[in-house]
């Protein structure tokens, strides 16, 4: 029996009916991953420990968690005790953490099995997974095309049906954009919903962990477990967890959805516009109502993001200095030389570029003009959303301006070209709001995503609206042919 493309509920049924054990499931999954090695989704497999854990789980019948015995993969920036965690960087290529990230620990405590660590853009900096030290990840829909980024390995592994779901992180779109490019569902929760403890930081005030899966329902199952207050992360929200599955089936009649005037969707490719209009119709047929809204400061979100995120990253990445852990250059003259060589040799170009931008933005004489100004604009963007959500329930946009693209075709000459990939996703990170991307058809044979942005802590409504859409369409059921792999 093939386990490829199975959802969590399907696997749950199989395990509960004893038609497969967790051990068999994990072994099959590892086999499948091995046969699809060419995709390059994984940086490290958790073979022996994964099987061991599965045997353990098979032996217990206490837990009735939906995730019990289900194989998952973790983005390679979640620290996993005893399992190499690289951030897809040379500087951490041999780093084995002595502790496990809270989000992963919660998933594992629910009985899920980590089968491996997924490829990503180096330190989550990129939108195409091309900055990984461990090589490009292929989009399962088309060989030689990017899966999006930075959670590209997670998205590709889910889209290829190797695993039902995986963790990702989203600083400016890193869950939603690869989900869109790979034709799957991915949600970035409200900032503070999921603990950042053990998640290697890119930009602390923007980073948020979330799941990627093949349906909104499976995302809800993972997010139910990942969420929750953690005293180890003081930015983690101390709010009650709502069971996201409880309200997922509610009718959405009367839902008010905002369309952002300033996004000028007319500038997008005709096919992308057509998909968007089609999806609007589906929602309208389900009783939703569309309203045009204005987010006056939204046009400043890309420059705002590219001042704040690099600034925080320039400081967050200072600890990778070759002194206590990670890559250390050989033959160095003194401490300064050790820093310079270790970091020059250990970091890739995009990471260096952002460290430089961030260092500049924080420097004496530039701080006010860049970092401080960006924080002020960030507040304006937050306010825009706050005002908008007084009269609407959700905001709808395309996830990304286009589809996946060929390796090396974007951002090589001009990195800003690639930064614009995040045009629609960045603002919800700046405002700390939850947002989801769901597949809504294809353009030139490649999937495109639809983004819904919710108000603060409204993950339940987001998943509800996404689930109802998926109950009334079949885009999320489409699978890549995988003939090329």
């Amino acid at each position: 029996m093939s386990i490829q493309y199975k959802t969590i509920s399907q696997l749950r049924e199989m395990i509960d009916a004893k038609s497969i054990s967790s051990q068999e499931l994990v072994k099959e999954t590892l086999k499948l991953a091995e046969s699809l090695k060419e995709l390059n989704c994984f940086v490290t497999m958790n073979k022996d420990e994964g099987i061991k854990k599965a045997i353990e789980v098979d032996g217990t019948n206490t837990s009735n968690s939906l995730l019990k015995g289900i194989p998952l993969a973790q983005k390679d920036l979640f620290c996993t005790e005893g399992l190499r965690t690289t951030c897809s960087s040379k500087i951490l290529a041999d780093f084995v953490p002595p502790y496990t990230a809270t989000a992963v620990e919660k998933l594992e405590n629910a009985g899920s099995i980590t089968i491996g660590k997924t490829n990503m853009d180096e330190f989550a900096m990129g939108s195409s997974n091309e900055t990984s030290f461990f090589g490009n990840v292929h989009n399962p829909w088309k060989k030689g095309y990017v899966p999006g980024g930075s959670s590209g390995g997670s998205a590709a592994a889910v889209a290829a049906g190797i695993i039902p779901a995986a963790t990702g992180t989203d600083t400016g779109g890193s869950i939603r954009q690869p989900a869109a490019h790979c034709g799957i569902t991915g949600i970035k929760p409200t900032y503070g919903r999921v603990s950042r403890w053990g998640m290697i930081a890119f930009a602390s005030s923007l980073d948020q962990a979330g799941p990627l899966a093949r349906s909104a329902e499976d995302c809800a199952i993972l997010l139910n477990e990942m969420s929750g207050y953690d005293p180890k992360d003081t930015t983690c929200l101390n709010v009650e967890n709502t069971n996201l599955l409880q309200s997922i089936n509610q009718p959405i009649k009367g839902l008010k959805i905002g369309i952002v005037k300033e996004f000028n969707l007319g500038d997008l490719k005709a096919e992308v516009q057509i998909r968007f209009e089609e999806s609007k119709k589906i929602y309208e047929s389900l009783g939703a109502e569309f309203v045009e809204i204005s987010l006056p400061s939204i046009s400043a979100s890309v420059p705002t993001y590219y001042s704040i995120a690099p600034a925080e990253c320039s400081s967050n990445l200072s600890r990778f200095d070759g002194v206590r852990f990670g890559y250390r250059a050989k033959d160095t003259d003194d401490l300064n030389d050790l820093y310079i060589k270790s970091r020059s040799e250990g970091f890739g170009d995009e990471v260096k570029r952002r460290i430089l931008i961030g260092t500049y933005a924080l420097s004496a004489g530039y701080y006010d003009a860049y970092y401080k100004k960006a924080q002020q604009v960030r507040r304006l963007i937050k306010n825009d959303f706050e005002v908008a959500f007084r009269s609407i329930d959700l905001i709808m946009t395309p996830t990304s301006p286009g589809t996946a693209f060929a390796f090396g075709s974007k951002g090589v000459q001009n990195p800003v070209e690639l930064y614009l990939e995040d045009l629609f996703t960045i603002s919800s990170n700046l405002a700390g709001l939850p947002a989801i991307s769901i597949p809504h058809g294809k353009v030139n044979g490649l999937p495109v995503g639809l983004q819904l942005i919710g108000n603060f802590l409204k993950e339940d409504l987001l998943l509800n609206a996404a689930h109802i859409f998926q109950q009334n369409s079949e885009f999320h059921l489409e699978r890549p042919s995988m003939e090329e792999f």
């Binding site: 951030c87 290697i200 400081s315 300064n336």
Partner: protein
């Protein structure tokens, strides 16, 4: 030319919290290297800081004591620089919104009390320690100290000479120890300062170029370092040169300051708000709680000692000026009723001993209970004052209780008249010449007889009784 000195001090006070500022690792001093270190302290990828509120309470206590404005919402910032013993590549500190703003400290000067204004005080984490001379060809790093909470207290440039600077630091030491903010142990680095020193022509309103002497950790060195630096700056200016704004180190072996390598301070620290921590908010009820449990300060202690125990103003002042002495007195006074004798001993015998050993009373083997017992034994005439002194010496060296020493050495005072009379009779019988001399008017010979009686009784006879009986018998 007459020169005028302007000094501002930045005092680093290590707070006496059990755990570090952002982690639950212990702050105990003197553990073997890298044992008081957890994931957070060594800055592993993915770790996040959590605030130790106890450090805030201590900082607030300091602020309240010096009349500062307390920012009940304060934020942390990152100060970015690379150094091998700075694990994260940045120090978490407070820049724009420190916990304590303003305040005043009174110091003793030759011309009386002078008030020095406090600019601000902020919380920050300490760095680790680099060790360069223990491993051949390698530098080692000890992160035990990394993350230890510090309160950096910045004074206005209102200190006029090295002596005043020492006075200021002494006042600071007294304050932080009485407030239980810090153990104030300077040799362990719990209290240290950076001195900003500049000179200008007397009467000039513009400040001269300053230099900063880093990390001075004793009262003696503060005085010497500042005096050296003043002399150096005068020489530079009088020979037509310019003082360069720089950071200098004081070398106590050579008794001189010299510039640190420029690389170490030519930094743009790129401060920005720490995104891993939310603003720290202290509630009104927390503030009230701190006020309600405010430690007694020297002034109040002094007044209480005078009022409750009838101590003389001078004695009360001395005992109340040192935290360890006051704590000792407060404990001992629970176990004895002769407060005056206790205070006399503390100021006399005990202080002399501590000064000789250059230790604080809490570093000695003396316990408050034992000293109280000693006072009680003098008071109830079990021993004489003289015997007490020899018992005290024994207590200092062995830490044994006075009763134990009296018992084993048989030092109990002889107070009954009969026993003493017997000895007196013997002494009189054995010294007829002296008896004659005394009786013929040589009153001073009484001392000889007292001495003889004491010799016979190994000093245990009660001197008053001896005197009384001798006089009776000799004048018969």
């Amino acid at each position: 030319m007459t020169w005028e000195t302007v000094i501002g001090l930045e005092t680093h006070v290590q707070l006496s919290t059990k755990t570090k500022l952002f982690s639950r690792a212990s702050t105990t001093f003197g553990k073997s290297p890298n044992t008081n270190v957890n994931l957070i302290d060594c800055g592993l990828p993915g770790v996040l800081p959590s605030v130790n509120k106890e450090a805030f309470y201590k900082a607030i206590r300091f602020g309240m004591a010096v009349g500062s404005k307390i920012n009940q919402t304060s934020i942390f910032d990152r100060k970015n620089y690379f150094y091998a013993d700075l694990p994260k590549g940045y120090q978490i500190t407070q820049m724009d919104l420190p916990i304590v703003l303003g305040g005043k400290i009174d110091i003793q000067t030759d011309s009386g009390i002078k008030t020095i204004n406090i600019t601000r005080a902020h919380l920050e984490e300490d760095a680790g320690k680099s060790i360069h001379d223990e491993f051949d060809g390698f530098s080692a790093i000890d992160l035990n100290r990394a993350g230890t909470p510090l309160l950096e207290i910045v004074s206005e440039p209102e200190i006029s000479n090295a002596k005043e600077a020492v006075s200021y630091m002494k006042a600071m030491h007294q304050l932080v120890t009485f407030l239980d903010v810090s153990d104030g142990n300077m040799s362990q680095g719990s209290l240290r300062c950076d001195a900003n020193v500049s000179i200008r022509k007397k009467g000039d309103s513009k400040l001269g170029t300053r230099t900063e002497i880093k990390n001075i950790n004793s009262f003696k060195f503060i005085e010497k370092a500042i005096n050296f630096e003043i002399k150096r700056q005068v020489q530079v200016l009088e020979s037509g040169g310019n003082v360069i704004q720089e950071t200098r180190l004081y070398d106590s072996y050579k008794d001189e300051t010299r510039p640190m390598r420029s690389k170490e301070f030519a930094n743009d620290y790129r401060y920005f708000p720490e995104p891993d921590l939310l603003p720290v908010v202290i509630s009104d009820s927390e503030m009230q709680e701190i006020k309600d449990h405010f430690p007694e300060l020297p002034k109040e202690k002094k007044a209480r000692y005078q009022k409750e125990y009838g101590l003389a103003i001078y004695d009360a002042q001395i005992i109340a000026s040192s935290k360890s002495m006051a704590d000792f007195f407060d404990a001992a006074v629970q176990k004895t009723k002769n407060y005056i004798l206790l205070s006399n001993w503390l100021i006399g015998e005990i202080s002399a001993f501590l000064n000789k050993e250059t230790i604080e009373i809490n570093e000695s083997k003396l316990s408050a209970e034992n000293v109280a017992v000693l006072i009680n034994r003098i008071d109830d005439q079990t021993i004489s004052g003289k015997i007490a002194k020899s018992i005290f010496e024994e207590m200092c060296s062995s830490g044994e209780s006075p009763d134990q020493i009296i018992e084993t050495k048989g030092l109990k005072q002889i107070t009954d008249d009969d026993s003493i009379e017997k000895v007196v009779d013997e002494v009189i019988a054995n010294n007829p010449d002296q008896v004659e001399g005394y009786q013929s008017g040589k009153d001073k010979l009484l001392g000889f007889f007292v001495g003889q009686v004491m010799k016979e009784t190994q000093g245990k006879a009660n001197p008053q009784t001896v005197n009384k009986i001798l006089k009776e018998k000799l004048t018969k």
